[in-house]
């Protein structure tokens, strides 16, 4: 029998992933052994420390450009940058999840298995502290995302996809208020998500049928050199794209987004809107830029149509929304379209601008959902837009911050939203995709309307009795909101700080 060789793993390069997985396992032990009273503090501290430690290691790895674990993982510029982005955004989302001042017990249900509306449910809704399992679950999700953006073969990518999706399905079901809506959202997300995963897996099978391997470098070579009929490869790429576009919430795979964003606990929605987007686009970039870049002539028109549909439909449907979380969900769909424009711009500019957009959008959307958690009445968050009328008179500070974020979403200069849109459109022009830019500009004009409507409503209407109070935020939400707003402003006035980073990181290794 020949000697087996253990695969050599560059432990320093994969350390962030290992730290997060280790901390998640430790979180399970904490859940089992630490007394109930101390659990929340311990879990939150553990989760924050682990994310911070991961971030520090990512920063020390900033110049690493290797493939490791027999080519299954590529720790290169985009991977390190996106891992850093995921960790920073996750850190802010964890702050939102940890908030317990706004509502006694926090945003999460104490016992998810108790029947909704029963006596026991009413008792637990009043006082009991929320589940602390959310922290280990989130850590598993974050670890999965770190793995996802570094995955260099399709099977590793699939496993990472499941590792970060399953915790997200669970997190969606754990809202303290409106529990049925939350459970419905989780079920929808789970069913549609598994469906999309199946598409991805079929795609992997077809690509393997053509190439005879699943790693992206072999796919790249086979796509360029093989003289067989490429139908199998095209079909495989189409199915892979469906799986990935589902996670990025691109039209026509977006239908889950509004329901899930509305039903999930708001901190989890923020986490999904910021981090899941980074992870999904990271993987899409890698698949298209490393594995299938030889086919860009073939897939660009089709994905271009998807991008145009995503921008237009996201923007038009955002106009008709009456619930703030649904509005933000449709805006997130439209933003997926702008990101796709960056992806299709191809080349270094495209890659760099997409990565910049992901980070800038992540911070703004976290701040937006932080504000959503603050505007509440006796029944929890006041989601309906009519309730936001006159908020500017009641609490000018919060309304002012929210106005700033909405203007950033609308792409007004001096905000990160302007710079990031400008960057992707400029990259697309350079890549010769003028039609995408035209659709992008038209849809941004449409999309500005719902944002400005909310702004007008907050400042120019008189407050009525139905206008909810803005709760005094605790330290954690204040920090999250401050970071989100500050970064939106900073990336708007001094974008070169991050643009230099993305440009330096914009090269994949094979």
């Amino acid at each position: 029998m020949e000697d087996l060789k253990a695969p050599s793993i560059d432990y320093a390069a994969v350390a962030p992933i290992l730290i997060l997985f280790g901390a998640a396992c430790l979180g399970v032990v904490v859940e089992a052994f630490v007394p109930r009273r101390a659990r929340h503090a311990v879990q939150l501290t553990l989760a924050l420390l682990a994310t911070l430690a991961g971030l520090v290691v990512v920063i020390t790895q900033a110049s690493t450009r290797v493939t490791t674990a027999v080519g299954a993982l590529a720790i290169d510029g985009p991977a390190v940058f996106l891992q850093g982005a995921i960790l920073v955004l996750a850190l802010v989302s964890l702050l939102l999840m940890g908030e317990r001042k706004l509502e006694p017990g926090g945003a999460f249900v104490p016992q998810a298995a108790i029947t909704v509306g029963s006596e026991a449910d009413e008792r637990q809704a009043a006082r009991a502290p929320g589940l602390t399992e959310v922290y280990p679950i989130s850590l598993f999700a974050i670890a999965g995302m770190l793995l996802f953006v570094a995955a260099n073969d399709l099977l590793t990518m699939f496993i990472a996809l499941e590792v970060f999706s399953l915790p997200l399905y669970l997190l969606c079901a754990l809202a303290r208020r409106r529990r049925l809506l939350s459970q419905e959202a989780a079920l929808k997300y789970f069913l549609l998500g598994s469906y999309a995963s199946a598409f991805f897996l079929f795609g992997v099978a077809l690509v393997y049928g053509f190439v005879g391997a699943v790693d992206l470098a072999s796919i790249h070579t086979a796509a360029a050199e093989s003289d067989r009929d490429p139908l199998l490869l095209y079909a495989g790429l189409a199915l892979l794209s469906i799986g990935l576009l589902f996670k990025t919430a691109a039209v026509p795979f977006h239908v889950w987004t509004p329901d899930v964003y509305q039903g999930a606990p708001t901190p989890v929605t923020a986490f999904m809107a910021a981090c899941t987007k980074v992870a999904a686009f990271g993987a899409l970039l890698r698949v298209l830029y490393v594995g299938f870049n030889g086919l860009s002539w073939d897939f660009t028109p089709i994905l271009g149509v998807v991008a145009v549909l995503t921008m237009i439909i996201g923007a038009v449907l955002a106009v008709t929304q009456t619930d703030i979380k649904r509005l933000l969900a449709y805006s997130s769909i439209a933003n997926a379209g702008y990101l796709l424009v960056g992806v299709l711009a191809s080349g270094e500019r495209g890659l760099a601008s997409t990565m910049f957009y992901l980070v800038a959008y992540g911070f703004s959307v976290l701040a937006a959902f932080a504000v959503v958690t603050l505007v509440r009445d006796a029944d929890g968050e006041a989601g309906h837009l009519s309730r936001w009328a006159g908020l500017g008179r009641r609490s000018p500070l919060i309304a002012g911050l929210f106005t700033f974020i909405l203007l950033a979403f609308a792409g007004i200069p001096l905000t990160s939203g302007f710079i990031s849109k400008f960057a992707v459109f400029a990259a697309a022009m350079e890549g010769g995709q003028t039609w995408l830019v035209i659709a992008g500009v038209i849809s941004s004009i449409v999309l500005a309307f719902p944002y400005l409507r909310v702004v007008v409503m907050m400042w120019l209407s008189d407050p009525s009795d139905a206008t909810p109070t803005v709760s005094v935020p605790g330290v954690l939400t204040t920090a999250a909101l401050a970071i989100g707003v500050a970064m939106t402003l900073l990336l708007g006035v001094a974008p070169s700080l991050l643009l230099d980073l993305t440009t330096g990181a914009a090269e994949f290794v094979q």
């Binding site: 029998m1 020949e2 000697d3 087996l4 253990a6 396992c25 399970v28 032990v29 859940e31 089992a32 052994f33 298995a113 028109p301």
Partner: protein, 125 residues
């Protein structure tokens, strides 16, 4: 048939032909068919023939079984990997690394059992 989108012309034609065929077929259908559909007894039942369904469609299962299903999966997955490993781990070339790797794998699964035990789900009250 030239230019960037030229090769998609065939696909466009196919889509157009599909739409035309669909419209023509359904249009002809609509023009030709009688517009007085019969409505005999039982037309709108779920099953037009056969036995009527009896009883409700709601069967309850004790929710507590799900814990046992989970724990079973924990053990089953563990043994699926443990058996082939047990046959080969002392052969030359495998060494300490193999043992450590399996220990990590089992430890992660054991974490699940530990959690279940501390959460009192192993006790059937």
């Amino acid at each position: 048939m030239e230019g960037y989108l030229g090769s998609y012309a065939t696909l466009g034609l196919l889509l157009l032909a599909g739409v035309l065929f669909f419209t023509a077929a359904f249009g002809a259908n609509r023009v030709l068919r009688p517009s007085a559909p019969a409505d005999p007894f039982g037309k709108r039942e779920p099953y037009e023939c056969g036995l009527d369904p009896v009883g409700g469609d709601w069967a309850q299962a004790q929710i507590r079984y799900y814990v046992y299903a989970y724990l079973y999966v924990l053990f089953a997955v563990e043994s699926v990997f443990l058996f082939p490993w047990a046959v080969v781990f002392d052969r030359p070339g495998f060494g300490v690394t193999t043992v450590v790797e399996m220990a990590v794998f089992v430890a992660v699964l054991a974490l699940g059992i530990l959690y279940a035990w501390r959460k009192n789900v192993l006790r059937w009250s």
